[in-house]
């Protein structure tokens, strides 16, 4: 149904599979948008009660969903031409999006459960927004093209077609810094396996915050359902037995076991048969039990890696690796190179992608004092409030809580201090920060697009400063907390390109002895 106004491409105009209409009807994908209109309309008309009204409502809603799904399928077409991907859609007003191949940063093929039943996949094409519009913004939805519901083979064809066309282009821009070894365009490269998920690693999941959140959310939903149920349906629990300490203990243990099992199941669903392979110039990550995800990242765009190990993960020696890729939307999820695994393997994977800058340099003693001071401040405030309450009202529990918090603050501060560190190497540098979620980011020198140096009044008194390396990848900025103030300029110069010398104070001779002294403190 190519209209006369359609863009003229050399490739054939393609359509998604009609089977997708079924999926969208069942999931109300398009009909969902009508809900805000439908509710006031229904309220206006008014509905009599009774079974027939409900049946009629269900039929009408399904028909509306079917109609909208069919309509949007009918109006959707795409085309992967030699120079660009063109997507045309829209019910009333037609919109055409053209994404030039050199702007495509990655392709993700995912297969949610319903798609898999019907042999369909969803292709997400990640595009860098045009130069002027993209500044400082990291919105993901704007910069991606979604082609929902093509057969699996067509998805694979589209992915390789788009990526190989892009790679075959001549070097983008006037001065591509180094072509790198991974730009070979040949589509049938031998695969090299970087990592493969071992199911034993699922046992780490109960110690990872993110996976624990899944069963907790489930628990929340469950408790709400129990609240809604009529009393007659709930088991009749004898009040006497509930109040014994044995029962409370059993309930707590059962709860913890359920939480752990839930975390393991959650991790298994997301990471099932995870594999990371290198094919030509791309890293390909495949994972998922119900929804199979296939993410492709260009090795040339990897500017660094972040190895994260939370407090719980450190207990068992587990870690997670994220790739820091320029121009990647939804980087936290798509950049995952190893979702969960032994620390040694994570470190080795990181070293394979970015040169290791060597062991971290600890931060000066003043940084330890500052971490402890900050960690106990909250506890001291509670203690002060508790002291006032104890004197005026005679209510002491708050005072006790305050003292406990203050005492706990000391090991927390020490732990946070022990995490701090930075290192510079010939081609890369590293920063580490955090205690509950500790993250060590290793970045290439060329990744840095700016420096931000922050110094609060307290930091100035202590001779400290924090430095943020601004990069166009990952979170956008990586901080080195509480460095010795005199080391800041030297670190910036060693960790980025020559322009950073603009940060070096003019009278470097006066600062030289200072720097040596603060180094010896470490």
């Amino acid at each position: 149904m190519t209209g006369p106004g359609e863009p003229a491409g050399s490739g054939a105009l393609r359509r998604t599979s009609p089977r997708i209409v079924l999926v969208h009807t069942a999931t109300f994908r398009q009909a969902r948008q009508l809900v805000p209109i439908a509710i006031p309309a229904l309220a206006g008309i008014g509905l009599g009660g009774g079974r027939w009204t409900v049946v009629a409502l269900v039929v009408v809603i399904t028909l509306v969903s079917l109609a909208t799904a069919a309509l949007s399928w009918w109006r959707f077409s795409y085309l992967d031409g030699p120079g660009a991907v063109v997507v045309t859609r829209g019910l009333v007003s037609r919109s055409t999006r053209t994404v030039p191949n050199d702007r495509i940063r990655g392709v993700e093929v995912e297969a949610p459960p319903m798609h898999r039943l019907l042999g369909l996949v969803r292709v997400r094409i990640d595009a860098a927004a045009g130069g002027a519009g993209s500044a400082g913004r990291a919105s993901a939805t704007d910069d991606e093209v979604l082609i929902d519901g093509v057969p699996r083979e067509e998805g694979d064809r589209l992915r390789t077609a788009v990526l190989t066309k892009r790679n075959r282009l001549p070097a983008v821009g006037p001065d591509t810094p180094d072509p790198g070894p991974g730009t070979a365009p040949a589509p049938e490269e031998p695969e090299e396996e970087f990592a493969r998920f071992d199911n034993r690693w699922l046992l780490y999941a109960p110690l990872v915050g993110g996976y624990l959140a899944v069963p907790l959310a489930g628990l929340g939903v469950l408790s709400r359902i129990v609240d809604e149920l009529p009393d007659g349906l709930l088991p009749d629990v004898d009040g006497e037995s509930v109040n014994t300490p044995g029962f409370a203990l059993a309930a707590a243990v059962l709860g913890l076991v359920l939480l752990a099992v839930g975390a393991v199941i959650g991790a298994a669903v997301v990471n099932w048969r995870f594999r990371l392979v290198r094919r030509g110039g791309s890293l390909i990550a495949v994972r998922g039990l119900l929804t199979r995800r296939h993410t492709e990242l260009e090795i040339d765009r990897i500017r660094g890696v972040a190895v994260a190990d939370g407090a719980g993960m450190r207990l068992v020696g587990a870690a997670r690796v994220n790739g820091l890729v320029t121009g990647l939307g939804d980087a936290q999820r798509r950049g995952q190179l190893l979702p969960l695994g032994p620390r040694a393997l994570a470190e080795a994977l990181g070293r394979r992608l970015v040169e290791d800058p060597g062991p971290l340099v600890l931060h000066p003693a003043a940084a330890r004092r500052r971490r402890i001071a900050r960690a106990v401040t909250g506890g001291l405030l509670v203690t002060a409030a508790g002291a006032v309450l104890t004197v005026t009202e005679g209510w002491w529990p708050l005072l006790l809580a305050g003292v406990v918090l203050t005492v706990l603050g000391v090991p927390l501060g020490l732990g946070r201090y022990a995490s701090l560190g930075h290192a510079t190497g010939p081609r890369s540098f590293a920063l580490r920060v955090g205690w509950l979620v500790r993250e060590r980011a290793v970045l290439e020198r060329r990744a840095v697009v700016g420096w931000e140096v922050r110094q609060s009044w307290f930091q100035r008194r202590a001779g400290l400063a924090s430095v943020v390396a601004c990069v166009g990848a990952g979170r956008g900025g990586y901080i080195a907390l509480d460095m010795a103030a005199d080391d800041v300029a030297g670190f910036a110069v060693a960790a980025s390109e020559p322009w950073a010398e603009q940060l070096v104070p003019a009278r470097r001779t006066a600062g030289g002895t200072e720097t040596n002294r603060s180094r010896s403190e470490e």
Binding site: G136, D175, P177, R446, V453, Q455, S456, A492, Q502
Partner: protein, 170 residues
């Protein structure tokens, strides 16, 4: 403030004096808002209501008065001393803040866009802000309160030079 040497080089140029007028106006507006809030608190919260109210009736006005003195008599001039900027052949560089200070450096080769914005108050004082964006959401240099003509010239110059030296490594 104690005179401890700063961790990095200071940018060379200071802002026009009219920025002090702008900061003073901003302080005045915030003090007036707080004054209105204080008035509402003193009039509508009865003095004999229990809890901490009798103490607060003393503490809050004192805090507001202290804030007013600092905001009107000290802060604008302090800010004029700390806010500095510089554009060299290679970089755009600023220092902002007053108690807590921030230095931001961006190389011209990594600039993606340059914006000039003029707020309502800024227009009254003939000032404008130049914002320099990079591929990083955190690497944004904002040169506050330049004279409008100057801001426009700086922005045009930066944009033109960024176009020539753009570098694809980001």
């Amino acid at each position: 403030m104690t005179a401890v040497s700063s961790p990095v080089r200071e940018p060379a140029w200071s802002l026009p004096r009219s920025a002090i007028g702008l900061w003073l106006t901003e302080s005045l507006i915030s003090v007036l808002m707080m004054g209105v809030g204080l008035g509402i608190f003193l009039i509508w919260v009865p003095a004999d209501s229990g809890g901490p109210v009798p103490v607060l009736r003393w503490l809050v006005p004192i805090a507001v008065a202290l804030y007013a003195v600092v905001a009107l008599a000290v802060r604008p001039w302090f800010k004029h001393r700390t806010y500095r900027w510089e554009v060299t052949g290679e970089v755009a560089y600023t220092r902002t803040g007053w108690l807590s200070q921030t230095w931001t450096l961006v190389p011209i080769s990594r600039i993606q866009t340059v914006d000039v914005t003029r707020g309502l108050l800024q227009q009254m004082f003939g000032l404008a802000t130049v914002a320099v964006f990079t591929a990083s959401s955190q690497g944004t240099v904002r040169i506050w309160h330049l004279e409008h003509g100057m801001a426009q010239r700086v922005a045009d110059d930066l944009a033109a030079r960024a176009e020539r030296t753009r570098d694809q490594a980001t």
